[in-house]
Amino acid sequence: MVEQLKSMSVTRNDLEGLIELSAFARTFAAECDEVGVQKPDWLVSAQDALNTEIKARIRGNLLKRKSEISARLESLKTPQQRKSELSKELREIEAALA
């Protein structure tokens, strides 16, 4: 597992794989503290890279889900709702043109 952490590529791993690596890195770091050994540089770099990538992936997932929900809400609108929105937009345009 140490070798995996040392040679990891955040690109190749899926989110679960990254979380697994992050959990191991955290445990490893805690153990270094426990035994009074300085955390190696590669571990610090790996943890930074993992934290950044995991946050980015979670954000990406949330943005994707937001897009999906917005799209589905749009498709579920009734003709009456669409008509109401278009009418409102028309009034706003007419007000701006007046």
């Binding site: 190749r12 990406g60 943005l63 897009s67 799209a71 498709s75």
Partner: protein
């Protein structure tokens, strides 16, 4: 099959990738079916579960029906062939029906039953008609089957029921991108249908997210470069959509090596790495037991052997449960432990390898013998023309004695560029000594790399275990398939 075809020759059928030319299955397939119809029927069933080449899934049942046309045929075997045809989507059933022997009365009856069964479930018929409109129309027309009134209105008159999925597809181009994206997800509109209906709107970000979600692994493979151009890597939501689609592709069906083509065409390093990870995950899911040796011919004029051997070694390195040893031979051996390595890593490690020298396949095995390396199976990639001692068959006898077991040997036979007067064919030498050799014939100009994983998957440390596996694959009944009891077939 004591005379005539060997089982290995029959298995080689499964690795054919004739790209639509189904007639290529007939010569060997018909003979195999005549000689051992029971084995052939179980092979159809086994291939239905394990096989990756679509052409074989279409061709083998047609071959069986064409061969078993007389009154002596076992009804169970005919039923099995028909059942496997009925499992196919309309496009593939049509291809089978159009093949040389496909216009049989039995196929006509089957097509009618197939279409009636599909019509009986309006919801699933709609889904099928959405995706396979053209093929369905042709099936009705080619076999003179009168469609039901509903099918006739939808397929031939384009009169769609209100609020049907057909009506929604027709409206996609007039919707806003957000509404179109929602409709695609809501109505589960297949990727190709949606792209065809959307026109330029398909490039919109929200629509792309919906489309990526709908892509099959094969579609993902074929569209990776296009997605790259559309900036999928730069937008976090699109990137997340691609990640999730690739995760599905890791577990899904589809050729791992087809991904190779998509991977290599990508300009972006990050996307290429992601696609490679999927490729490796797919190869790792199949498995081959034991430790293996791959002996690669690097004698003079064997340039063709090197890339094939590296592919096989890489496939085995992912699939094999044990160690994988790669030995290049000409008149001297050169060894590399490739256990767990990727194709990229193996190519890097062998980038200075060149062809030269005479051919001693035995020296490759001799290396393993001298170094006490025990394997459970051997794959040889060569034109099989030995001209220099030690000869393989002789060393094989010593190896078997040293390790007290007969190790199965598989030959991937490549085209011989030339024949010298000293050349001795490996298959002949092995036969003279009463030693087993299974052969895959790769003697064609363009080796189909897509079929290599299929071939590797059939290699076994016990030469009879694959036959047992095939015979254990259950035969199907047409009645069960048409009733929809077998919607999804999982690997045995």
């Amino acid at each position: 099959m004591e005379q005539g075809l060997t089982r290995q020759q029959v298995f080689s059928l499964l690795a054919k990738s004739p790209h639509g030319k189904l007639d290529e299955y007939f010569p060997v397939g018909s003979q195999a079916c005549r000689e051992d119809p029971e084995f052939f029927s179980h092979l159809i069933a086994w291939n239905g579960i394990k096989g990756e080449i679509r052409d074989a899934k279409v061709a083998l049942p047609i071959v069986a029906l064409a061969t078993m046309r007389n009154g002596d045929s076992v009804p169970e075997f005919v039923d099995n062939a028909e059942a496997h045809l009925a499992l196919l989507p309309p496009r593939d059933l049509l291809r089978g029906a159009r093949a040389k022997q496909g216009r049989m009365r039995s196929v006509r009856r089957l097509v009618e039953k197939y279409l009636r069964a599909k019509e009986s479930n309006a919801k699933s018929w709609d889904r099928m008609a959405l995706q396979h409109r053209g093929s369905l129309k042709e099936l009705y027309a080619l076999f003179h089957v009168a469609p039901s009134p509903r099918a006739n209105r939808i397929l031939f008159q384009r009169q769609y029921p209100d609020k049907s999925v057909f009506a929604d597809v027709a409206r996609l181009k007039d919707m806003s991108p957000l509404e179109a994206a929602g409709t695609i997800v809501d109505r589960k509109i297949p990727f190709l249908i949606a792209v065809g209906a959307l026109g330029p709107k398909a490039k919109d970000k929200d629509v792309l997210i919906a489309l990526i979600d709908k892509m099959t692994p094969a579609q993902l493979t074929n569209n990776m470069k296009k997605l790259e151009r559309l900036g999928v890597k730069n937008d976090p939501a699109l990137k997340a959509a691609l990640e999730q689609a690739l995760s599905k592709a890791r577990m899904g069906k589809g050729s791992a090596l087809k991904l190779t083509k998509a991977v290599e065409s990508l300009g972006d390093d990050e996307l290429r790495e992601k696609a490679r990870a999927v490729q490796e995950a797919k190869l790792s899911r199949a498995s081959v037991e034991g430790d293996w040796a791959v002996l690669c011919d690097r004698s003079n004029s064997m340039e063709a052997a090197l890339p094939v051997a590296l592919q096989i070694a890489a496939i085995l390195a992912r699939m094999a449960a044990g160690k994988v040893h790669l030995v290049f031979f000409s008149s001297e051996p050169q060894y590399l432990d490739v256990t767990g390595l990727t194709l990229e890593q193996i190519q890097k490690a062998t980038r200075y390898m060149r062809v030269s020298g005479a051919t001693s396949i035995g020296c490759g095995l001799n290396y393993l013998l001298a170094n006490g390396i025990q394997v459970d199976g051997i794959a040889i990639v060569s034109d099989a023309q030995e001209n220099t001692p030690p000869h393989f068959a002789g060393v094989m006898e010593q190896y078997s004695k040293a390790h007290s077991k007969q190790v199965p040997v598989y030959l991937y036979r490549l085209q011989a560029a030339m024949h010298g007067y000293l050349d001795r064919d490996l298959a002949q030498s092995m036969s003279e000594r009463g030693l087993d050799l299974s052969e895959f014939d790769l003697q064609r100009q363009n080796i189909d790399y897509h079929s290599l994983p299929n071939l590797v998957q059939t290699m076994r440390t016990n030469r009879y275990s694959l036959i047992d596996e095939v015979m254990a694959a259950p035969l199907l009944r047409l009645e069960d398939v048409l009733r929809g009891e077998l919607k999804v077939r999982k690997g045995a």
